[in-house]
């Protein structure tokens, strides 16, 4: 998807500098996704916007160096001269600084001045910035006193003028040196100590042995006698007090009644040190060849144009990866069936995840790791396979205890099962890419995929740990190495990113992200035979038809998936199949057809035994159960058609009517059975159509919020998202088709590639103004 070809170069550069803007513009967090033209318009609008929202979008992923530069510039009143810039960044990596400045410029947060400095175009409102003389903490009298102490005469008798004069004095080299020279040794020491410890931040005066009582005396007006009746004057043996008083009187240091002291921003110039010296730099990820990422000839354009995926090697690689991806789908369906049969209790906190013990139990049952199970749970929830169901106990009152369980929506399951295999996998990927309860993780996922998609096909990042650290630095503050690690784990499990070795998009992942239609064209031709052995194991080749695989997974448990697949026929799985409508004959026939060798008697007997055990006991979901001591009486009641009774035992009958209704029907015929309430009724799995109403109600709330908050976009978007979800909830059969186009846009600058032959990563950006 060469969407960037349709954007002006500066907009493309903007999107590269502010990747989350691409996320917004291309609707990658929204459903349904906007059209291409809508995306382009949105991108242009975002790039041109001149508001806080645009700036904040950029701040999220400025990267460590750029974020610090922004902060430094803010504390230089929004402008850094070339000399100041050089001074402040002396300890930083020059390439990092250069790249950071480029990013700030491309993101329209700053501009270069003619003299080579940096001028901010926004007020970042980063909070916790330095105290300035203009903060309003100092009174006019205090400012006047400072001017007097400094020997400064402001042009006018206004606070702003006084502050300007003081600032200019500090900025003048000679004047500054003179001021510093006048200070006592202790005062200089304290000044330096504050600068070293916190820079422009606040330091507790207790560091110097002073209390907040003492600081209350630190006022540059000669009116300390007024304090005598409130506080005890500090002992003048506290040398630090005197020194601090000097600094305060000369406008170098401020204090508050909470016991904090700080250096005024205007006075920082006298500190003669950079504002920040703890620069972090992580080596750029080294890009190496990666076999699982396909060859360099695997290009989305070629594939998308129907030209085939590179060479034969790529074709084989795609097929192999597709096969693995489809096994993932089979595993996912196994888990859905398991959760359908074993509804999991929801957390009281209503968090959208399973309790840890349930995760561990599932992991153990399926020989998966806890994190893999959590990934599948998350997918099942976001794809709305799993819905929360309230099961009221006792039904005595609305405030009664509620048992909340996650249950499978049968409509969603039915429509899912009809989908072609690769569509299923891409749906898993789409939901994983799009949805998520944690915005940070979602954004991290996007950024990682976005970055990996900039690597040429066949390339991967050599060192995983280094890469994660780099992502945390490059996309700071939003992305952390820990979050990136979590995302990488999931992407690997989904076969989007290579499972081992260099970190790169798999050939299949690249295809999925850049040429969705190409996915559907992959022919995962397959075998249709396996070996069913007397010891109840079934050995299938790695390329067994996914449909056969899915059916086999319905009657057997996967024991090994390390090449060929080894299943073992399983009693409980067979029982579930029987309950789902299979019979001994159909299962046996399936195994006989599947097996390339004759089925042993032990196998057919096992199936027969398992089926028999499944049929011995059954649970009947019945709102009403009518019990009678006399079978004849019961039979008489059952003959009443309106009662809709079915006799299940000589003295037991069931009815779909509610107890009250049944009683009423029987009462009309002169029968008055006692109404006995006990226990809980079996829950009916909730269906998406019921949920649609809730989603619409939630959407309405967000609409109201949006109106109340001046059409705030976030609320509006959320409302749109909820409405779209409600629509899909009503039509589960259509849901899978709305995610055809979730693909990630190609890198913003046409021709931008990571050159494998250029040693450590370099970025040849091609066009640049």
């Amino acid at each position: 998807m060469q969407i960037y070809d349709q954007l002006p170069p500066d907009v493309s550069r903007y999107l590269r500098a502010v990747p989350l803007a691409a996320f917004e513009a291309f609707g990658l967090g929204q459903t349904p996704s906007p059209s291409v033209s809508e995306s382009i318009d949105a991108a242009r609008a975002l790039a041109a916007a001149d508001n806080d929202a645009r700036a904040h979008l950029a701040f999220e992923t400025l990267g460590f160096t750029a974020s610090v530069l922004l902060w430094i510039a803010t504390n230089h009143a929004g402008a850094l001269s070339a000399e100041a810039l050089a001074f402040e960044t002396a300890a930083a990596d020059a390439d990092d600084v250069h790249e950071a400045i480029e990013r700030l410029v491309d993101a329209r947060l700053a501009q270069r001045t003619r003299s080579g400095g940096l001028q901010l175009l926004v007020d970042p409102d980063l909070g916790a910035s330095a105290h300035t003389l203009a903060d309003g903490i100092l009174t006019g009298k205090e400012l006047t006193a400072i001017c007097q102490n400094l020997g400064v005469t402001p042009d006018a008798n206004r606070a702003a003028e006084r502050i300007r004069a003081i600032s200019e004095t500090f900025g003048d080299q000679k004047a500054g040196a003179r001021i510093l020279g006048r200070l006592s040794g202790m005062a200089r020491q304290i000044f330096d100590a504050i600068a070293d410890a916190v820079g422009l931040g606040e330091l507790a005066a207790g560091t110097f042995g002073l209390s907040f009582h003492d600081l209350s005396w630190l006022e540059p007006v000669a009116d300390r006698a007024n304090q005598a009746h409130v506080y005890v004057a500090p002992e003048h043996s506290k040398v630090a007090f005197g020194a601090l008083a000097e600094l305060v009187d000369h406008g170098l240091v401020g204090s508050d009644s909470f016991g904090n002291v700080w250096i005024w921003r205007e006075a920082w110039q006298l500190a003669d040190r950079p504002l920040f010296d703890d620069w972090m730099s992580v080596p750029r990820p080294e890009i190496v060849a990666c076999a699982a990422a396909g060859s360099a000839s695997l290009s989305p354009t070629a594939h998308g144009a129907g030209g085939g995926a590179g060479g034969d090697g790529d074709e084989a690689l795609l097929v192999e990866q597709a096969r693995r991806a489809l096994r993932l789908v089979v595993r996912f369906e196994e888990l859905l069936r398991y959760w359908g049969a074993n509804p999991t209790k929801a957390l009281k906190t209503r968090e959208r995840r399973f309790p840890k013990p349930s995760v561990k139990a599932t992991a153990k049952a399926f020989q998966l790791s806890d994190s893999e199970v959590e990934l599948f749970v998350g997918l099942a929830m976001s794809m709305r396979f799993l819905l929360e169901n309230d099961i009221a106990q006792g039904a005595k009152s609305r405030r009664g205890p509620v048992d909340l369980r996650w249950m499978i929506d049968p409509d969603v399951m039915d429509s899912w099962l009809e989908q072609p295999p690769m569509t299923k996998w891409s749906a898993l990927l789409a939901y994983h890419t799009k949805a998520g309860s944690d915005w940070r993780i979602e954004a991290t996922r996007f950024l990682m995929l976005w970055h990996l998609s900039t690597l040429a096909p066949g390339g991967g990042v050599a060192d995983e740990t280094g890469y994660l650290a780099w992502l945390g630095i490059r996309y700071s503050p939003l992305v952390t190495a820990e979050a990136a690690a979590e995302v990488l784990h999931d992407l690997r499990a989904l076969e989007v990113v290579t499972r081992s070795g260099p970190v790169g998009l798999t050939a299949l992942g690249r295809l999925a992200l850049t040429d969705f239609e190409g996915l559907e064209r992959i022919e995962v031709a397959s075998s249709d035979q396996a070996i069913v052995q007397a010891d109840l194991t079934v050995v299938t080749p790695p390329d067994l038809d996914p449909r056969l695989l899915a059916r086999l997974a319905g009657v057997a448990k996967l024991e090994s998936d390390a090449g060929a697949l080894i299943f073992r026929l399983d009693e409980s799985a067979i029982a579930e199949s029987i309950h789902a409508g299979e019979t001994v004959d159909t299962i046996t026939a399936f195994l006989e057809t599947l097996s390339s060798v004759p089925i042993e008697a032990a196998v057919s007997r096992f199936v027969s035994d398992a089926a028999s055990a499944a049929e011995k006991l059954s649970i009947i979901d019945a709102p009403s159960v009518l019990v009678g001591a006399d079978p004849a009486e019961l039979a008489a009641a059952a003959s009443l058609k309106p009662a809709k009774l079915t006799i299940v035992a000589p003295t037991v009958a069931i009815s779909p009517l509610s107890p009250e209704k049944l009683r009423s029907v029987l009462a009309k015929k002169g029968l008055a059975p006692a109404l006995v309430r006990d226990g809980e009724s079996a829950p009916e799995p909730r269906r998406s159509s019921e949920q649609a109403k809730e989603l619409e109600a939630q959407a309405e709330e967000y609409e109201k919020l949006s109106k109340r908050w001046h059409d705030r976009p976030a609320f509006k978007r959320q409302a749109e998202r909820l409405l779209a979800d409600a629509e899909r909830a009503r039509n589960p059969g259509r849901r899978w088709t709305t995610y055809q186009r979730f693909g990630l846009p190609a890198p913003p600058l046409p021709g931008e590639v990571i050159d494998l032959n250029a040693g450590p990563a370099t970025v040849d950006t091609g066009q640049r103004s």
């Binding site: 076999a291 084989a316 097929v319 192999e320 081992s500 031709a525 397959s526 075998s527 070996i531 052995q533 007397a534 010891d535 109840l536 194991t537 050995v539 080749p541 790695p542 390329d543 090994s560 390390a562 090449g563 060929a564 080894i566 060798v597 042993e600 008697a601 032990a602 007997r605 096992f606 035994d609 055990a613």
Partner: protein, 558 residues
């Protein structure tokens, strides 16, 4: 579709190797695979091997390189193996030899030698290894006590570092030209060779696994003749001891003066001495577990008191715990473990390997059956319906009582009679778990009964009579599970068993697997009460045999 290569092996990325027996080249591939992989199971069509660190390191001992192993896999694979497989094999085999255990003449003990000080430092820091190491001798060497030879190797193995044991063996007292008089079958010779390794220090220890009736005893005797050293043979029972002694005199040049029985009946220490596990691990009631170990188990001194050059452990899977402890102190002696079923329900097979040595040889049961070395066998599970009354009794019984009720169901008795009628004229062994039930059966059939309470003399008389064909039916308890050689018994009826023990099932089948003189097929019946715990256990019991390629016919009792 992936076009498969012509090879018979499917190499999984988790180092499991599946061998398709029907594929071209399967035999040759199997022979190659056995050098560096362990056979896990061998049902009819696909055998499962596992390449483990231990199997690779043992292959390294024989001189096999990582490249050799990888070549076999590449050339015989049906689908191209993942690169990670080769990488892991190289990595694992590369570790062998980096740590060595050698004799240290200065300390008159042992020394652990590393190829690099950093490696020694790394392993020495392990909390499990540290207590086993003595003083640092130099940058690359640290002292190890003689008695800790086994634990050091075991602990380092667990840490992922195999130790090349170059400390050699104590030679023990030599024997005078012991010869084996019977010709070994090809697989017996292979088993011996795999264990002995031409006298290399890396050989002379380990476990040989052969099906029941395949002649493990002869392999043990051949090992004695090969090592030519004073030997202690540890057996499961006195009957087994005497059986070994008979075989010894029959198949070797040893005389009665050369062989001795050390039991509660006799205390003979001879160049070849036979003892039971029970005897060895007899606990003196005058001492308890807090006292000195050898005071508590005084008979274990037998290991130390003589200059044994070889110790043979029959049915080594039964190795009891106290023997584990003392065995680890006699790692300087060559040792051979023999078993048909290296399966322990407690999962401690690894301990056996660690202390006796690795599995050196394994042969699929069905292969030997096909070659005629063991009798072909038909296994049948007879399913018996409980009466309504008994079903109800079972249903409401306590969980612990359920198994016994199902196993001793009276409905089994007529089935036993019917089976005997079907096999009239043949010799039948009836085996069970519960003595009361066995008594009832013995009375019903007017057949002798041998249980744990039966005196040795009576036991020997009954077994001898059965061997000689004088007894048509013998009813036995689990004491006949192991080591009792009954060549002409062709029918075994298992009326009850010990829960889900796979090992017991296989051992009981083994009672009838000696090839019959008339070449007839052996029959093994297992009576199981339908829809009870017993049928669930039966499935587990049958698993081992199913993995060996045995099929169970399942019939309903009429």
């Amino acid at each position: 579709m992936t076009t498969p290569l012509p090879g018979p092996l499917i190499v999984q990325s988790d180092l499991v190797v599946l061998l398709e027996t029907a594929a071209d080249g399967a035999e040759e591939a199997r022979a190659q695979l056995a050098r560096f992989a362990e056979l896990e199971k061998a049902p009819e069509h696909v055998h499962t091997y596992r390449i483990t660190p231990l199997s690779l390191w043992n292959a390294a001992v024989t001189g096999l390189t990582a490249e050799d192993v990888c070549d076999v896999l590449r050339s015989s694979a049906k689908y191209p193996p993942a690169d990670a497989v080769f990488h892991e094999i190289s990595e694992l085999m590369g570790r062998y030899g980096r740590l060595r255990l050698v004799r240290d003449h200065d300390t008159v003990g042992l020394a652990l030698v590393a190829d690099r000080p950093s490696l020694l430092e790394e392993v020495a820091r392990s909390p499990k290894i540290q207590p086993l190491l003595g003083e640092r001798l130099d940058g690359n060497r640290v002292a190890v006590r003689l008695g800790d030879r086994g634990p050091v190797k075991q602990s380092l193995l667990a840490l992922g570092w195999p130790v090349a044991d170059e400390a050699g063996f104590d030679t023990g007292e030599e024997l005078d030209d012991v010869e084996i008089l019977s010709e070994l079958r090809s697989y017996q010779a292979d088993a011996l060779a795999s264990w002995w390794l031409d006298g290399h220090d890396g050989g002379g220890n380990g476990v040989v696994t052969l099906p029941c009736g395949a002649g493990k005893t002869l392999v043990g005797l051949a090992a004695i003749a090969t090592t030519q050293m004073r030997t202690l043979v540890v057996c499961t029972s006195v009957s087994s001891v005497r059986q070994w002694m008979r075989e010894c005199l029959l198949h070797t040049s040893l005389t009665e003066d050369d062989v001795g029985e050390w039991s509660s009946h006799r205390k003979q220490i001879r160049p070849i001495t036979f003892v039971t596990y029970n005897m060895l691990t007899w606990a003196d009631p005058a001492f308890d577990d807090d006292d000195d170990f050898l005071d508590r188990y005084p008979n274990l001194r037998l290991f130390d008191d003589q200059e044994w050059g070889l110790i043979v452990y029959d049915e080594v899977h039964l190795l009891p715990a106290p023997v584990f402890r003392v065995t680890s102190r006699i790692q300087a002696v060559r040792r051979l473990g023999l078993t048909a079923t290296l399966v322990r329900e407690d999962g401690k097979e690894g301990d056996v390997f660690s202390l006796i040595g690795p599995k050196r040889f394994d042969a699929p049961w069905t292969e030997l059956e096909a070659l005629g070395w063991i009798a072909p066998a038909v296994c049948t599970e007879v399913r018996i319906d409980l009466s309504e009354v008994n079903r109800m009794t079972y249903a409401i019984a306590d969980q612990r009582a359920k198994h016994r009720l199902a196993a001793t169901a009276e409905e089994k008795l007529p089935v036993v009679s019917e089976l005997l009628e079907r096999h009239q004229g043949e010799q039948v062994l009836i085996i069970g778990q519960f003595v009361d039930q066995l008594k009832e059966i013995a009375e019903m059939l007017d057949a002798p009964l041998v249980t744990g309470r039966t005196g040795q003399k009576r036991r020997d008389e009954c077994f001898d009579a059965l061997r000689e064909g004088e007894l048509p039916v013998l009813v036995v308890s689990k004491i006949a599970n192991f080591s009792i050689d009954l060549p002409e018994v062709g029918v075994a009826i298992q009326v009850s068993g010990q829960f889900g023990s796979r090992q017991e099932e296989a051992q009981r089948l083994g009672r009838v697997l000696r090839p019959k003189s008339d070449g007839s097929v052996a029959h093994f019946y297992s009576l199981v009460s339908r829809d009870t715990e017993e049928s669930r256990f039966a499935r587990n019991r049958q698993r081992f045999l199913a993995e060996q390629g045995y099929r169970y016919e399942i019939v309903d009792a009429a």
